[in-house]
Structure formats: C-alpha cells, structure tokens
C-alpha cells in the first residue's frame, strides 16, 4: 500500500537511532584521537626504505637501480646514485642511493614502486599522521627519514614481511650453495694442475740421475 515503504524506512532509522546507544555494530565510529581503530594488514599510506640489521646506511637494501623512480606515475621519487659501491646482503658489491627523496604531498600511494622493486627494498608504511606546518620541506622525506628497519616492517605487515624474508633467505641459500659449489670447483681445479707439475718436476730429476 502507499506509504508502506516510508514506514519501513522510518522503522529502520529508528532502529539505528536506538541501537547506536546500546550496541557496537550500530555505532561504528570511535572517539579519535583518544581511541583508534586498528588498521587492517593491507593498509598502505606512503613508502619507506627497508634496512636489515642495526645500521641503516650499511644494511639498506636499495641498490639505486632507479626502476621505481622511472615507474612512479606522479614522479615523486628522486634518486642520486652513489659514486662507490658497498657489499649488499649477498656479499656482492652494489651501488647505493646517495640521495633518495620522496615528496609525499605528490605521492598517491599506488604501490607501483613496491611492485616493481626487484630487491624488496621499498615497502608501504601505515603512518598517516604526517601533518606538518612546513608546507614544502616538511613533506619531502629524505633517505634518513624513509629508512625503517626490517623489524618495523614485520610489525606493520607480518605475513608480507615473513614471506619476503623467506624469499630473501631462499635466494641467499641459493647464492651460498652456488658460492660453495664454485669454491669447491675452484679448489678441485687448483688441486689437479699441481700433480702434473710435480710429475714433470720429478721426471727431469729421474733423467738427470740415469745419465
């Protein structure tokens, strides 16, 4: 009948009104900033650079390949490669970023830099209370501000971090296995030429003794 829909709608809003005082699922807001709702794991706000171990400069995974700088849609990343190299986690000497700036007022949190990084060096942070009174410099994050430890990554994205660590450990194991195999082969090669040299050295001695 005419008006039935209106009455049903009124009943629903009345239920919302009364329910918001008694049950939590009818009042979904919290008193921010005194109470906060825990973010879900896949939350992403702005990027940060991961470093392993204690020293952020030595343990930084980033090798300044500049792929993320090229792929960033609003071009908010600015990288300057270093002149020298330093050994990375696998022992290989790699470049490192002398300068790594992200302008978070430009960044649109699309996560493309994270997706294209081959070294698991840049990941998404969950920090959003970044307001500052300095309109220009305050929102330009440099290398030091962006560097956060692997423990921090584990805290904010546990399953993702565990996965990344497993992958990195696997790569390291493979690299180690290759290294030991290469070392064994090198050792074998080094052992074989020493015997004929000794035989050749022994033979002229025998020849000298007969005549």
């Amino acid at each position: 009948m005419l008006g039935e829909g209106i009455l049903r709608g009124l009943a629903e809003t009345a239920r919302n009104f009364v329910g918001s005082f008694v049950s939590a699922d009818r009042l979904t807001t919290v008193q921010y900033p005194e109470e906060r709702i825990a973010p879900i794991e896949a939350t992403r706000d702005f990027p940060f650079l991961v470093y392993d171990g204690g020293d952020w400069e030595a343990g930084m995974r980033c090798v300044a390949c500049q792929i993320c700088e090229k792929e960033c849609p609003p071009k908010c990343i600015y990288i300057v490669k270093s002149a020298d190299k330093k050994p990375d986690a696998l022992g290989k000497p790699q470049f490192y970023p002398a300068r790594f700036d992200i302008d978070i007022s430009v960044c649109m949190s699309c996560q493309i830099c994270v997706e294209v990084c081959p070294f698991q060096a840049i990941k998404m942070d969950t920090e959003f209370e970044l307001s500052t009174t300095d309109r220009f410099g305050g929102l330009l994050f440099d290398r030091e501000k962006l560097a956060k430890s692997n423990e921090h990554y584990h805290k904010i994205h546990p399953t993702e971090a565990a996965e990344v660590d497993a992958r990195l450990a696997e790569e390291k194991a493979k690299a180690d296995a290759k290294a030991t195999a290469a070392a064994a082969a090198a050792a074998a090669k080094a052992a074989v030429p020493s015997k004929p040299v000794a035989a050749a050295a022994a033979k002229p001695e025998e020849g000298e003794a007969r005549s």
């Binding site: 009948m1 005419l2 209106i6 009124l10 919302n16 918001s20 005082f21 979904t28």
Partner: protein, 391 residues
C-alpha cells in the same frame, strides 16, 4: 499551586508591569511578551539545531558533535560565533538593497507568525479573532523573501533555486490551508485559542484532540506533508539541495545573513509545528485528564519539540524528491485528498455522535487512500528506463 506554576509567566509579567505607571502598563506588557518570544524561540532554535545534528548522526551510525561542551550542547553557540565573525560577501553585480532585505524580511515575518500561537493557558501574545488567517498570511510572505534572495544574487543557480522554492511553496500552500479549514469547520472559529479550548475536553480520560478522529488524522498527515514542503525540509528540500544547487537560493550569502536564513528556516519550522500542535494535537492541553496539574506551556513545548524530532526523523530517512515528483504529489494526490477530507469532516459533523460516524468516516478515507495509492503505484514501472529526449 499548579495553577500558579501554569500561569507563572503571566503572573511574572503582571508583577513587573506593576512597577510602571498606569499609562505605560499595556505597552510594557506587550514589549515584555515580545522580549520573551525573542529570547525563547532562538534558544529553541539552538536546541533544534543540536537535536538535528545529534539525531541525524545517531540515525547514520555515528556520534554527532560532542567536543563543544558536554554532549556538544555548546555547538550551536560555536556555530553562531563562527557565522558572526565571517566576512560578509556581497557579489559585485548583486542588487545590494534587495540582497540585504531578503533575510531581514524572512526573520521578521517568521517571528510575527509566532505572535498568535497559544503557548499556554492565557499565554497568547495577540488575541485575534482570525488568528489562523494571520498565521497563513505571514507564511505566504516567506515566499517573497525566498524569491528576493534568489533574484538579487545575480546567479543562475540561486535564481533556479528560488524559482523552484517559490513554486513548491505555492503548490503546498493550498493543501496546508485546506487541511486547516477542516479544523476550522468543526470548531466553528478561526481563533486559535478557541480551537485549543475545544480540544481541551476529556472523555474517559482521553482528550478530544483532533488527531484522534479519522478526518483529523488524515488532515494531520496532509498538514505535516505540506508543512515539510513549506519549510523546504527534506524530502522536499530541492531548492536548497546541497548536492544539486550548491545551496540554492542562499548560495551567495555568507556570515551573518546566512545565519539569519538558517534562523528563519528553523524558527519557521518551530512555528509551523506550533500551529500543527494547536490545530491537531490539542495545543497546551495535557494528554490525559489526570495530568492536568503539569503546566500548560510544558505540554506545548514538548509537543513542538516532538514534532521537530519527527521532522528530523523523516529527514534522516527519506531521499529527496525531484521537482516534478514533488509538484505532481501536491496537485494530484495531496490536494484531492484534502478536499475529500473536508467532505468527510462535514459528514462527521452532521452525523450524530456514536460509533457509526467513526466507521463511516474511517472507511471512506481508507478506501479512497488505498484506491488512489493503488492507482498511483500501478503506473510505476520498475525496470529499464525509457528516455525521452528534449526537443
């Protein structure tokens, strides 16, 4: 004792006026009553704004403002201070005089409408024989203010909003008057005090309020619909539709003038609720005979605040009506139904008192409502929309 509590404001005025010489007493009494109205109704306006924000919030699964004062009670004051300290911008090519006069006219007219409402026993500011007509005359003048606001802003959107607003207000003026005419017909007088007095009688402890009669209930529903449209409240708030027309006819108003429009709209809502209370809900009469000891003005204000709560409830529930849907509804449903209600009220009066007239009147009203509703709904085709392009 309860007599004193009931008449406390009247006695207070009498006492204050007693200090003045005899010649000034009458005018001083009137001035005191005017000051009381100007003090009370803006306070009620602040209360209504607070109720609206908290009530709408709770209906929308959130808490309303709760930082300014306990439970956000000082939020309207904060809003008022904000409006007063904002820059008053008048567009360069706008008509400055008319632009200034529009909110002034609105507020003046709306406050004048309150003058005839019987707020309690012996508590009407001006006793008029045709008080109801005066109230509607003031209501008709608010349309002029809406038009002035929209036209003087020299803004397409304001003008569109004003045109729509005026068209809507004129369309719903007729059902508003017609539903009150039924009440006048049964009471036999245009005087609002008389209407309340007639409803102040009790049978078996239940009051004779007009809403408890079949024709009265139908008239009340029509009156409430027309009142919602007259005050540009949701679901009829297309003229000030925030998502369609920025703010409609008061787009170009800022600061205090905007606050005056806001005040005019809410006090208009309060006064039209006051009239609805007087006509249908018994004004200052208590719901049950044994509650007669509670002061009369308490009942009046609680009924008005309950009507405001219903306004807010409806605003939180219904989506906005499109302009043509709104006009169709007024002319094709509400107006014929009010005419039928007039006929049924006449039937009620001429049938003798008893259960027969209840049955007959209710049956006629329900049958026609179901019929018109059924016809109206059957023409709705819910499905793929067919478009008709403009020529």
């Amino acid at each position: 004792m309860s007599e004193n509590a009931d008449q406390i404001f009247v006695l207070l005025r009498h006492w204050i006026v007693g200090f003045l010489p005899a010649g000034l007493q009458e005018i001083a009494g009137v001035v005191l009553s005017v000051i009381a109205i100007i003090a009370i109704f803006p306070t009620l306006f602040a209360l209504a704004v607070w109720m609206e924000r908290k009530g709408l919030a709770r209906m929308q699964n959130r808490i309303g403002p709760n930082r300014a004062g306990p439970f956000g009670l000082l939020q309207p004051i904060a809003d008022g201070i904000k409006s007063l300290t904002k820059e008053d911008i008048v567009p360069l090519r706008a008509d400055a005089v008319v632009h200034f006069l529009a909110p002034v006219l609105l507020v003046v007219v709306v406050f004048m409408g309150i003058a005839v409402l019987p707020i309690g026993r012996n508590m009407t500011l001006v006793h008029m024989d045709s008080g109801l007509l005066f109230f509607f005359a003031m209501g008709a003048s608010t349309e002029l203010s809406v038009f002035m606001a929209g036209w003087s802003s020299r803004n397409k959107y304001s003008l569109l909003g004003a045109m729509r607003g005026v068209a809507q207000m004129i369309s719903y003026e007729v059902p508003l008057l017609m539903s009150s005419v039924a009440v006048v017909m049964i009471t036999g007088s245009l005087s609002l005090e008389k209407i309340v007095e007639v409803q102040n009688q009790y049978t078996w402890g239940l009051p004779h309020w007009y809403i408890f009669t079949p024709w009265g209930l139908a008239a009340f529903v029509m009156y409430a619909t027309a009142a919602t449209a007259e005050t540009n409240r949701s679901p009829f708030d297309l003229p000030e539709g925030e998502s369609e027309l920025v703010a409609g006819y008061f787009t170009e108003y800022s600061g205090f003038k905007f606050a005056l429009f806001f005040l005019g709209e809410y006090v208009g809502m309060l006064s039209i609720s006051g009239l609805g209370t007087t006509l249908f809900l018994g004004g200052w009469s208590a719901p049950f005979a044994f509650l007669g000891w509670v002061p009369s003005w308490f009942w009046f204000f609680s009924k008005v605040l309950m009507s405001i709560a219903v306004f807010i409830w409806i605003r939180g529930t219904l989506p906005r009506l499109r302009q043509d849907q709104l006009m169709n509804f007024a002319w094709k449903f509400v107006l014929p139904f009010t005419l039928l209600d007039l006929f049924v009220a006449a039937l009620w009066r001429f049938m003798s008192d008893g259960w027969a007239r209840w049955v007959v009147c209710s049956a006629i009203l329900l049958a026609v409502y179901a019929l018109m509703g059924g016809v109206g709904m059957s023409r709705k085709h819910f499905g793929l929309r067919k478009y008709r392009y403009a020529e």
